[in-house]
Symmetry: C2
Subunit: 260 residues, 2 copies
């Protein structure tokens, strides 16, 4: 069983991609809606929450853990790997790897929450492999509340995206990492803003591909269910109408959210 | 000692008003930044947090409790009064009372978080006293993140306020309750939008006045400190740069925030 957690509902973009790429695996998801958002909080608090979320998923039978949240991946991955024996998969490395493979100019943009950008994890990961590359980062803290409100195509959202992306305008990037699992819901507005010559990297999709490749190489990591008894359970620490609406938008189907 | 709690930093507008109106009383404040915001969460979760926050303040010596948060006041006041013996003061009644005293037409607008507006508490309080009055409510969920980002005078914030207040445009209100302790930081933009013939009611200031009157009538509620040893302590459950910046803006002085 694949365990996935996020600060709330953004990580469901990862869960949806995993459902699609790995249809024979069961998923247990935890969305920490009662404490959302993580992106504006301190590293110590985010790490504390991530430890608790992982414990919850392990109790529910998870055999690998996907941190479906760039913020928690940025600051809590090492603590989780120290604390738990199961494979801990974060969303940074798959997105960074894809960005390195995609760029032709070596000029890569990254957008994310304040905590993700402050951590510098994308620069470290990309420039650790390619010291000749240039990474330009911008924190976009209001995009998460805008997505959670469902304002994914409003004029105000377009203006806020324009303001946030403005500093990247003259950097001549050819690749932009969507370094937050909420941002795939804003793909169209962001693509329009940066222009079609810039390739967007979706950390949700890249992470699902990474997990698919991992399980192809090491199938023993997960005790496979028999076909036909795959179950997906979506737990949340709080249940709100806005969460139900965004979940339905992400999965394009009604989704039962189970309150813990 | 006066205990004050809020979901985060918005309640500091109440604390500042209490400091100014009651300079001889000590204050202990708790801002639940680690779980902020409350306004988009469920009543059960908000009540659970409010109970814990009150326990914390009582342990620190609080003799009365001010719920400096419209959201928590809306959904958790009764639970706190059942659970604890000390006076529990909420921000709704003072603001509603002032709105009733202010309006000439009996047409009152209320803006607040989704949880506050959904609770219907302002309608119940105002129409409970004056069934002939009309209350028009609008939830403005993005204003809290905008204030917490410090975007209190940005074009995007003006546009979002315009969108939120649009349904109130034809209601001919003459009084508008700022039903969220973050909104006093947006007074100028909101006043410009609704026009100077509409009187804004600041729940923070009205609550501080209510507490001043209460302590004038019942001074025995608080064992008064000797003059000169008044102390104000501001505790927070998480410490972020954005919180420090907004706190400094509210108090117009550097403020020591103590991490619990």
């Amino acid at each position: 069983m694949i365990g996935i957690f996020d600060s709330g509902i953004g990580g469901m973009t990862v869960a949806r991609a995993v459902e699609q790429l790995l249809p024979d695996y069961s998923i247990v998801y935890f969305g920490d809606i009662a404490r959302t958002p993580y992106g504006s909080k301190s590293a110590a608090t985010i790490t504390d929450y991530s430890l608790r979320n992982t414990e919850f998923l392990l109790k529910k039978g998870a055999e690998i853990i996907i941190i479906a949240c760039n913020t928690a991946s940025s600051v809590a991955t090492e603590a989780l790997r120290r604390e738990f024996q199961v494979p801990i998969i974060e969303v940074i490395t798959p997105a960074a790897t894809k960005a390195i493979a995609t760029t032709k100019t070596g000029r890569i943009g990254v957008i994310g929450t304040r905590a993700t950008i402050r951590s510098g994890v994308y620069e470290q990961t990309i420039c650790g492999q390619r010291p000749d590359f240039h990474v330009f980062s911008e924190a976009c803290p209001l995009l998460v509340p805008l997505v959670e409100e469902g304002w994914t195509n409003k004029q105000e959202t377009k203006m806020i995206i324009r303001r946030y992306l403005h500093p990247l305008k003259d950097k001549q990037i050819d690749t932009l990492v969507l370094g937050c699992t909420h941002y795939p819901l804003l793909t169209q507005l962001i693509q329009t803003r940066v222009g079609k010559r810039v390739t967007l990297i979706d950390s949700s999709v890249e992470t699902a591909k990474y997990v698919r490749d991992l399980l192809t190489e090491q199938p023993q990591l997960i005790a496979r269910e028999e076909k036909g008894i795959v179950t997906h359970r979506y737990f949340v620490s709080d249940l709100t109408d806005a969460a139900k609406t965004v979940a339905r938008k992400i999965f394009a189907r009604p989704l039962e959210l189970i309150l813990t």
